[in-house]
Amino acid sequence: MNQLLPLIAVFSYLSLLTVGGGMAAFPELKYLTVDVHHWVTFSQLIHLYSIGQMAPGPNMMMIAAVGQWVAGPLGALVVTLAFFLPTGLLTLLVGRLWVRLADWPWRASIQRGLGPVSIGLLLAGVISIGKGAITGWETFALSAAVFGVLIVTRTNPLPLIALAAVVGAYAFR
């Protein structure tokens, strides 16, 4: 399928942006898949991302759903390889090198400096997804409630998300 090459290009590029977590790439994920390539609508992307939060494993496996959506099972496979192979090879190589660089003074500077930037990227990703997911006071309240419970109790979020699905089924149809 002629969508496979753009899928590879988009998702291998996105993988390079995931410093600190998958959420960091969300603004660019939205721009490329929704605005540029029109593979999904913004609300479809948010739905797939949110379903992905319930799946086990690395929290960006929702990319496989986008691949499946665009080009079937082959699309899912291609997207997953494109997303994990380039950064995986980088991690393998740098990981071996990094251990040998334990005494290099800039190593600590790089780790320390990228810490706050990765938090900023995570928050930018949250803002980006929030713009689509928070559509009124009801969704805002639901979101704030989940945030509050997780901050205070540090419980497993899965039951909360299931509860939100039930609330949504009654409140938002």
């Binding site: 410093v19 603004p27 995986g88 810490g115 900023g120 930018a124 149809r173």
Partner: protein, 232 residues
């Protein structure tokens, strides 16, 4: 995501065990990939790899995690690669990566098919997804804030966070450009001989740490509190 505050594991002998087979590595990561519901895969990795399997000790685990946090790629998949590589080289890394991604990936393919089949029909499904999306925003924000309280230890960090958000959300720059520009500024700020790395900006807000296993060093607040810079 990267919730390091997993139940820490007892540091008894690890190094002397023979390394596991590639198949063994695959199966262990497959089971983590299939059971790590609710985010925080790193915590599941820690309790399995450090606790049950004893493939790495806790110090090594945190060291590898700090490498992951400064590299592109998800923490969960990068940790799988680094631990797999330590155990069985490149083959081990590949086995671990495939194992941890496979279950969630298959589930998401099934979810995409189901989503495509049901989406046009019911507004009940639509309503559920609407609720789940709102909850997901709260969940991701909570994870970011918890990580932020540990990572941001000096006022300068807040400036770098703000610059990053402004670059992406206000100036609409590509994440890559913002990462390169603000990242370079922050690394230069914390250059060798530059600004001190440690601080206690949110020390008062950090939870006094709930269930801590009785064994192990009690001064774990220093050990865990550093975030990505902690292992420096």
């Amino acid at each position: 995501m990267s919730d390091v505050s997993a139940p820490a594991c007892e540091p008894e002998g690890t190094a002397s065990l023979p390394p596991p087979s590639v198949l063994g590595i695959f199966l262990v990561f497959l089971s983590i990939g299939a059971t790590s519901f609710g985010g925080g895969v790193v915590a599941y990795l820690r309790s399995s790899l450090v606790g049950r399997q004893r493939w790495v000790d806790d110090e090594t685990f945190l060291e590898l995690l700090s490498i992951c946090q400064s590299l592109p790629g998800l923490n969960a998949s990068n940790m799988a690669i680094l631990v797999g590589d330590r155990l069985r080289g490149t083959a081990g890394a590949a086995a671990a990566l495939v194992g941890i991604c496979l279950p969630g990936g298959l589930m998401m393919v099934v979810a995409a098919i189901a989503y495509g089949a049901t989406h046009s029909r019911g507004n009940v499904v639509d309503g559920m997804l609407h609720g789940v999306s709102a909850a997901a925003v709260g969940m991701v924000l909570a994870v970011s804030v918890q990580l932020g309280l540990k990572t941001l230890t000096r006022y300068a960090d807040l400036v770098f966070v703000a610059l990053t958000i402004i670059g992406v959300e206000v100036l609409k720059q590509s994440v890559l450009v913002v990462l390169a520009v603000v990242g370079a500024m922050a690394i230069f700020w914390y250059r060798p001989g530059g600004a001190p790395h440690k601080g206690d900006l949110f020390a008062g807000l950090l939870p006094a740490k709930a269930p801590r296993p009785p064994q192990g060093p009690q001064s774990s607040d220093d050990g865990k509190g550093g975030g990505p810079g902690g292992a420096a």
